[in-house]
Amino acid sequence: MKLIFEKSVKGRGMQYLPKCDVEEVALPESLRRAEAPALPEISETDLSRHYTELVKRVHGVNSGFYPLGSCTMKYNPRIDEEMAALPGFTGVHPLAPLHATEGCTEVIETAKDLLTEITGMDDMTFQPAAGAHGEFTGVLLIKQYHDARGDKKRTKIIVPDSAHGTNPATAAMCGYTVVNIPSAPNGCVDLEALKAVLGDDTAGLMLTNPNTVGIFDENILEITRLVHEAGGLCYYDGANLNAVMGVVRPGDMGFDCIHLNLHKTFATPHGGGGPGSGAVGCKEHLSEFLPKSALMTGEEGIQVKSFAGNFLVVVKALTYILTLGKEGIPMAAKNAVLNANYLMRKIQGTFEPAFDRICMHEFVLDLSTFKKETGVSALDVAKTLIDNGMHPPTMYFPLIVHEALMLEPTETESRETLDWAAEVFRSLYELAHTDPDYMHASPHNAQIARPDEVKAARNPILKYQG
């Protein structure tokens, strides 16, 4: 389809503003633009149709199954959107006087109360805008804690090799040396490897639990105890909280701070890649280090973003939590785990899970043997899924499993959908044995055929060339 710029006709356009009713003032010559920006000039009809054309080329959770592991692509209730669009929320200036923003304060305080209860934390900030931003904030809590104690020798953050790439990247942004530790054969933390790197230079440990292979680390209490014993703090990456919310609490596992992905676990939509909210919770001993807005509070502590964060996302999450309540929150987790196990077992016998045991809310298929047999890769399978109307799982992650496909069905999928998905996987397994070339060339019926990513990187075209 055409780009919006290719639909532009000089002189076209809409008039949304009235005539200026005061004397017009012009910029001095030295500050003036040389020429008007080359923005599209387009009728509203064409504009509307352009985006309708675009939206037909998007697969959302509302379009179909989206088992993108680690991303918790659950159904996003419409009511959350409606509440976040209330003029009483959208029309509030962040610097309006306190007495004019009591509703916003109530949203934040209520969300904080409910989420600290769910996570077992004492305090929380909603300033971080996304998961990685929450990680940054959380590790800065750890850094400030050690600094405030004058404990300057703690320069290392321990990260398991199964971690999301954001974990080591975050530790580096916080000035730490990253110590990667290998996972045990069962995908969990190798206690001996952990003990070997712990010391008086340990600032903390970043851990996802359940971990990225979908397993709850049964040694979790021992892990957090060992880190604390060495004087470090424990950071909980909340990417996988959906498996355990309302069932077991990170605070009870011994973690000192945590980030949540409200756009994952609490169903505020992902928006094609944001906005999210990376709320950060902490125990009391870290509370004083939480970020604040300098302009809103007049304080100069740490701050990771302007104002109070992605407030409307918090409105959506609060609406969701209030809807589910104390019954619905654990039921969502339990059904997320049930759906994952059900799908894993239905697929098993063709594609094999990397770890043949009960999983949490997601599981990883290991296609390395399959690839040896058929020459068909995880990528080929993913691309053929697209032709079947299914969004592919997360590919080639975690790094500790080769030819990995990571599936997270979530609790909002029905048994029929899971049965259908398993059937699709089984049929692709057969297809790989009969017609691997077809799969190498997939997708065949998608918006585009496989794109040339190497060309995109070597010869970057990053804007319309006109």
Binding site: A36, L47, V58, L86, V92, A169, M173, H270, S414, P451
Partner: protein, 439 residues
């Protein structure tokens, strides 16, 4: 209700049975038993019907006061948002998709980002834009991080930048154990003499905001020249509405242009979600953080869009990545692109000119009142600082009339006007302040 779970209780039991289990607890056998919450342990309210939740949230929203007229800016601007800009981003597919990892299924999102990147380049005069960062403050902080190398680690930040931006850059600098130094102000603008004194071989970049927090235009070109003479890079934070009429950051000598794109179609929303934009020259392209969408061809030779230059990013580079950013503000970027297409070059120019004109009208009328005068000399865009006798009383009187007055700042009040405020509303505001002052 109860979690939007389709499966009935009966189906759940059948599914458990199908995998050889009898209860949900069997699924959690790896969790130490005494850690598992029991019924009643979780202190949350009971779930509610949609109707109840809707009523409750609406009651909470009603506790906020929404002003008919907004004369407050300071980083959050109340511009007119065309109706279509509110409707299109609410389409469910845009809302519920995620990062376009699978290009064959995500051309709509990828193209919307590509168009947004083009818009940002057109506005700023730069060669390359990323797909967005969280907001203007983080865009500035990420830009400062881009500029550091082994020898040059210090960031100089104008005291006249937004306080939240200064504090965010300071925080990111604290993260990497780097120094951020504030360049003092003089007459409401960056003090060039002070800047000269601070520049040396350890300075990686200089950050200045245009127009600045006081609404004033900085002498950006002079600052660029000083910065470049010292071998540092120049980061300019700009208001995207002003770019409808203002010289581009490229023409003002910036190496990196950043800013807060909330004015491009996003409501005030108590501070978020907003949108950070970042653009730079081809030279620094591979140092940009975040997602970047590129154009390529598919196997049939057709135009296609993909996430590109991923070798910079955390999922590939891990601790060596240019940033940890993953999720960004994609839907806000789509909104900004849509807003710019709806407004077009003429509409954006009009929004900019009218905002500036109305601010100047308001300033003139306010300064006719006893004891009210401009605090700083110099050219300004749509914000300005005045003295204001009986400040609290005047602002309260405005509030009672449904007008959010300017923001109390050091030395006076920071006022803002946009195209959305009519002359009548401005006259009314001035009249209310007048009545307070002469009473």
């Amino acid at each position: 209700m109860a979690g939007f779970i389709p499966s009935t209780r009966e189906e759940q039991l059948e599914m458990l049975k199908a995998i050889g289990l009898t209860s949900f607890l069997d699924l959690y056998k790896d969790v130490p038993a005494d850690m598992i919450l029991k019924d009643g342990d979780l202190n949350l309210p009971s779930g509610m019907s949609e109707m109840e939740v809707s009523a409750l949230m609406s009651r909470i929203a009603a506790k906020n006061k929404v002003y008919a007229t907004c004369l407050r800016g300071a980083g959050a601007y109340d511009h007119y948002i065309p109706s279509i800009v509110k409707y299109i981003p609410a389409k469910e597919e845009f809302l519920t998709a995620y990062t376009p990892y699978q290009a064959e299924m995500s051309q709509g999102i990828l193209q919307s980002i590509f168009e947004y990147q083009t818009d940002v380049c057109n506005l700023t005069g730069m060669d390359v834009s990323n797909a967005s960062v969280y907001d203007g403050a983080t865009a500035a902080a990420e830009a400062a991080a881009m500029c550091r190398d082994r020898n040059r680690r210090v960031t100089l930040v104008s005291a006249c930048a937004h306080p939240d931006t200064i504090n965010t850059i300071r925080t990111y600098s604290y993260g990497t154990n780097d120094e951020m130094i504030v360049i003092p102000e003089k007459d409401g603008k960056t003090d060039l003499e002070a800047l000269k004194a601070l520049l040396n071989a350890s300075v990686a970049s200089v950050y200045v905001q245009q127009p600045n927090f006081n609404g004033l235009f900085e002498d950006a070109e002079a600052i660029a020249a000083l910065t470049h003479d010292a071998g540092a890079l120049f980061i300019l934070g700009v208001n995207p509405i002003a770019l409808g009429i203002m010289k581009t950051p490229r023409d003002m000598g910036a190496d990196i242009a950043v800013g807060e794109a909330q004015p491009l179609g996003m409501p005030l929303s108590y501070g978020g979600p907003y949108l950070g934009f970042m653009a730079t020259t081809a030279k620094h392209m591979r140092k940009l953080p975040g997602r970047i969408v590129g154009q390529t061809e598919d196997a049939n030779g057709e135009r296609a869009f993909v996430l590109s230059l991923q070798a910079r990013e955390q999922h590939i580079r891990r601790e060596k990545a240019s940033s940890n950013i993953c999720s960004n503000q994609a839907l806000c970027a789509l909104t900004a692109g849509l807003y710019l297409s709806a407004m077009g070059p003429e509409g954006l120019k009009k929004a900019a000119t009218q905002s500036m004109s109305k601010a100047h009208y308001l300033a003139k009328k306010l300064c006719e009142l006893p004891g009210v005068e401009m605090v700083y000399p110099g050219e300004y865009f749509h914000e300005f600082v005045t003295t204001l006798p009986k400040q609290d009383e005047a602002l309260l009187a405005l509030e009672k009339a449904g007008i959010l007055g300017g923001l109390p700042v050091e030395g006076g009040v920071l006022w803002c006007a946009t195209e959305k405020v009519s002359r009548d509303a401005l006259d009314k505001a001035v009249q209310i302040v007048k009545e307070v002052l002469i009473s």
